[in-house]
């Protein structure tokens, strides 16, 4: 018997400060003005997407001791934009990255609970953790963590915020004018948490929100990150948007759930991917090549190579061969504030591999950076892209896709008009929102249901 068709989850990533964004395109608008976010969110809602995703940065990127200026620089505050977007949308989930290192649980919990109330149950939190002193220089905590403590703090941070969310059960506000009883319980919100990272107690001051707790996203890819997601997240924001890598990741992460007493459908795997559409596949391929060249200028290529080499490579020709000198394996000082830098755990091995690939394919530095950085998973005519995405999801390379267009804010318009109807025709994508909350869109249990089951069993 064949498997029933999976319903595809789709979401939108507002293009941020990496080189996905082609800011030089005449169609590119502001990445700060609210009108851009509103346009992007309304298009996402027209496409019936599950949610809009907004990343966060807490220090401007630097390279060679100077603020990096080749990509979009600057972005607004995550919570503030999401709350404002709740005013111009009705169904769309509102997912934001919030760092667990440079915040405190009480404050973050009240911000997410507030966002969930103000959006009628559409809030989601992508929990990330940093450990660098570079970012810490912007915070009074001055703070940063030894790398090996970052998941320990993140885990405790998340469990602490859950304790705060759960400190109200949802039935405390009776607001009975006649008897003068506003709260049924003077202890509403009471909590005590004593742990390695947090020693706090008192009363949480936001009543239980529509979703009980925000939906939790996680993005780390290390073994620890995958365990963290398997134990605590509702969805994982992965970066494997090819069939083979996607399936391997999917199988691995889903297999980890059982040991936490969770079902495979309790953690959704959602890779981020870009796309390029054309009237024909050939035209889309041609456009995709052009976009990649715009995303990776010669100067950008050199800067990206410096992430791995950790050296000044400004003397190299981007159209020439890769440097024959080895990376500087010491503490990373050339490029700072970039998540990508941390992906290269073994720069010497990466450099070796890249040199070999470049030599075998006769790639210049720029070609190499384009090829290794390419996330254009979905390129083709609308029919081809619909087919590819559907295959990707039906064969368990993912449960859905978070689309990162390369144009702000109109980069989803064409996808919405031309690809979405094809997915709907095939019966693999919603034509209307069925529920009110983001948990409904994602098919996730309400935390109170789980609590009820546990208490009943």
């Amino acid at each position: 018997m064949s498997k029933p068709l999976k319903q595809i989850h789709l979401a939108a990533h507002f293009p941020g400060v990496n080189n996905t964004t082609v800011w030089s395109d005449p169609k590119a608008g502001s990445h700060i003005e609210f009108s851009s976010f509103a346009h992007f969110a309304r298009t996402s809602e027209r496409a019936k997407f599950d949610f809009l995703f907004l990343a966060e940065g807490l220090r401007l990127r630097e390279q060679g001791g100077e603020i990096y200026d080749l990509d979009v620089v600057g972005r607004p505050d995550t919570f503030t934009v999401l709350a404002a977007l709740a005013a111009v949308t009705e169904h769309l989930g509102l997912t934001g990255t919030i760092n667990s290192t440079f915040n405190e649980p009480y404050e973050v919990a009240r911000q997410f609970a507030s966002l969930d109330h103000l959006s009628g149950g559409r809030a989601a939190w992508n929990v990330v953790t940093s450990w660098d002193a570079f970012t810490g220089e912007n915070f009074r905590r001055g703070g940063f963590l030894p790398q090996d403590e970052r998941y320990s703090r993140a885990k405790e941070f998340l469990s602490t915020t859950n304790e705060l969310f759960d400190s109200w059960h949802g039935d405390e506000i009776v607001a009975d004018r006649r008897t003068g009883t506003f709260l049924s319980d003077a202890k509403a919100g009471a909590f005590v948490h004593k742990g390695q990272h947090f020693d706090i107690e008192g009363q949480f001051n936001v009543p239980r929100s529509p979703q009980g707790r925000p939906v939790i996203f996680q993005a780390g890819d290390s073994d620890e990150g995958r365990e963290f997601a398997a134990s605590s997240a509702d969805a994982i924001f992965s970066r494997y948007a090819t069939l083979q890598e996607g399936r391997a990741f999917y199988t691995d992460v889903k297999s980890r759930l059982a040991r936490y007493g969770r079902r495979p459908d309790q953690l959704l795997i959602l890779p981020a991917a870009t796309f390029v559409l054309g009237d024909t596949d050939a035209e889309a391929e041609e456009q995709a090549r052009e976009v990649r060249r715009l995303q990776v200028s010669g100067a950008t290529a050199i800067k990206h190579l410096e992430f791995v080499w950790n050296r000044d490579l400004s003397g190299y020709d981007p159209d020439g061969p890769l440097p024959d000198i080895d990376p500087d394996p010491g503490e990373h000082t050339v490029a700072r504030g970039r998540a990508q830098v941390r992906m290269y755990r073994d720069p010497l091995a990466t450099a070796r591999e890249w040199r070999e690939r470049a030599a075998a394919n006769k790639w210049s530095i720029r070609d190499l950076v384009i090829e290794t950085g390419n996330r254009q998973a979905f390129v083709g005519s609308p029919a081809t892209v619909a087919t590819t995405i559907n295959e990707f999801v039906q064969t368990d390379a993912a449960d859905g896709i978070i689309l990162a267009p390369h144009i702000t804010p109109g980069g989803l318009d064409e996808f919405t008009d031309r690809v979405i109807p094809l997915l709907q025709e095939r019966g693999v994508y919603r034509t209307e929102y069925e529920g009110a909350t983001l948990r409904d869109h994602l098919g996730l249990d309400h935390p109170d249901d789980a609590r009820g089951e546990r208490e009943a069993s």
Binding site: W23, S24, I32, E33, F34, G57, L60, I67, D69, L70, V72, V73, G74, R75, P76, D77, F79, T80, V81, A83, A84, A86, A87, F102, E104, Y106, E107, R110, A113, S114, L115, H117, L118, G120, E137, N138, F139, R140, R141, G142, W168, I173, A175, R177, G180, T181, F182, L183, S184, A188, G189, D199, I200, G202, Q203, N205, V206, P207, S209, T300
Partner: protein, 406 residues
């Protein structure tokens, strides 16, 4: 064409169902909706219909309490509230003219986060953001953060040396907090984004500035991740009852809210703030001093008095406030405001005793009365909160430095 800003400025302070603790029991109250967006957007659009300068939104890092220093465990009053900055952002796209000023607690928060949040509120409201800075000496709120313990501080401790020292320390920290926030707002010059396709540069990084703040309580490097907001500097305000907070207002704020009970007292407070303002080298800058008043407003003075009495009966005690409490008609309130204005107050922040009743009484009763007297606007004269308040868009401190050393 824009006319000059209204001679008298008017704001309302929004707090739950209203400032009287029994307000939620009134027929016009919507106590079950205090945690919904619709409730807040209705209040703010009502304020905008009255052409008010701005609304403030109260907040706190603990449950509300009838005690100044500790939780009271009461269940007969509104307890619980949403984050004020998020409420502000949620209603900003639904309004067009009115300023939106959420409360921000300086004591346990990161100025870096606050700076980008308020800058972003300025973007989502296209130039109508402000903040109201607040400190907290409450020990139980400190325990919500667990980063430091504060000594016991009761109502009687204001005058003791230890109490004064604690307050001074908290206000010094708040002054540093707001200094960091302001520097971060200026850390991008207005024209830093250049999108120079020829050179591939998105920004001119010489127009971004490290703020390199170092103070007693924290240091912050900068620059902000958020570009300079539309107003340049969103409006900073604070409530002040005594010399230490007056000094914070005089040094750091655009608006101070004060609570004198008559024109004579108001004159003294204004004088004290103006002296501090001059000492801080800001004599030439516009610094508004607003009087705060709690208001019970009805067209019939007896109705207002009866309503207050009814609420006091429900609460089981007479109503008191740090601010003067006005009970009466819009015309009598207009008289009082004009009298206080002669003492140097430049505007008023009215605290509706019952939001559902006294806010419409302000917008539909008091405002027309002030307009008849020629002291309040007939239409919004400006697109930004600074514009409404007659504050110019400030030069960027870093750009000015760069120019003068060029």
């Amino acid at each position: 064409m824009s006319s000059s800003p209204s001679p008298l400025h008017l704001a309302v302070a929004l707090d739950g169902a209203g400032w009287h603790p029994a307000a939620w029991r009134e027929p016009t109250a919507r106590p079950g909706e205090l945690f919904t967006a619709a409730y807040w957007s209705d209040l703010v659009t009502e304020a905008e219909r009255g052409l008010l300068d701005f609304v403030t939104i109260e907040d706190g890092l603990g449950l509300q309490s009838s005690s100044r220093t500790e939780p009271d465990g009461r269940t007969d009053q509104v307890r619980g509230r949403l984050d004020a900055v998020l409420i502000a952002a949620r209603i900003a796209p639904l309004t067009r003219h009115i300023g939106i000023v959420p409360t921000v607690v300086a004591t346990h928060t990161e100025p870096f986060h606050i700076s980008k949040a308020i800058a972003t509120l300025d973007y989502v409201s296209t130039g109508r953001a402000g903040l109201r800075l607040q400190v907290t000496a409450r020990r139980h709120e400190a325990a919500h953060f667990g980063r430091r313990t504060l000594p016991p501080f009761g109502a009687g401790d204001y005058s003791t040396p230890a109490g004064q020292e604690l307050l001074s320390s908290l206000f010094d920290e708040a002054a540093d907090h707001i200094e960091v926030v302001r520097r971060l707002w200026d850390s991008w010059e207005d024209d830093a984004e250049i999108r120079d396709v020829a050179t591939g540069r998105f920004i001119d990084r010489t127009k971004l500035h490290y703020i390199d703040f170092e103070g007693t309580h924290f240091r912050v490097k900068g620059p902000s991740v958020t570009p300079r907001p539309p107003q340049g500097q969103p409006v900073v305000s604070a409530l002040a009852h005594a010399t230490v907070p007056y000094r914070l207002v005089a040094r750091s704020a655009d608006i101070g809210y004060v609570t004198p009970h008559d024109a004579g007292e108001a004159r003294g407070v204004v004088e004290e703030i103006r002296t501090e303002q001059a000492a801080a080298g800001r004599a030439e800058e516009t610094l508004h001093v607003f009087g705060d008043l709690v208001v019970f407003l009805d067209d019939d003075p007896a109705a207002a008095a009866a309503r207050r009495e009814r609420l006091e009966d429900l609460a089981g005690e007479p109503y008191t406030s740090d601010a003067p409490v006005f009970t009466g008609t819009p015309a009598a309130l207009a008289d009082l405001l004009q009298d206080l204005a002669t003492a140097g107050l430049t505007g008023f922040r009215l605290r509706p005793a019952v939001a559902g009743h006294d806010l419409p009484a302000i917008t539909r009763g008091l405002v027309p009365e002030l307009r008849r007297r020629g002291v309040f606007r007939r239409e919004y004269e400006a697109g930004t909160l600074r514009g409404l308040l007659g504050l110019t868009r400030p030069a960027n401190r870093y750009a000015a430095t760069a120019t003068s050393t060029a």
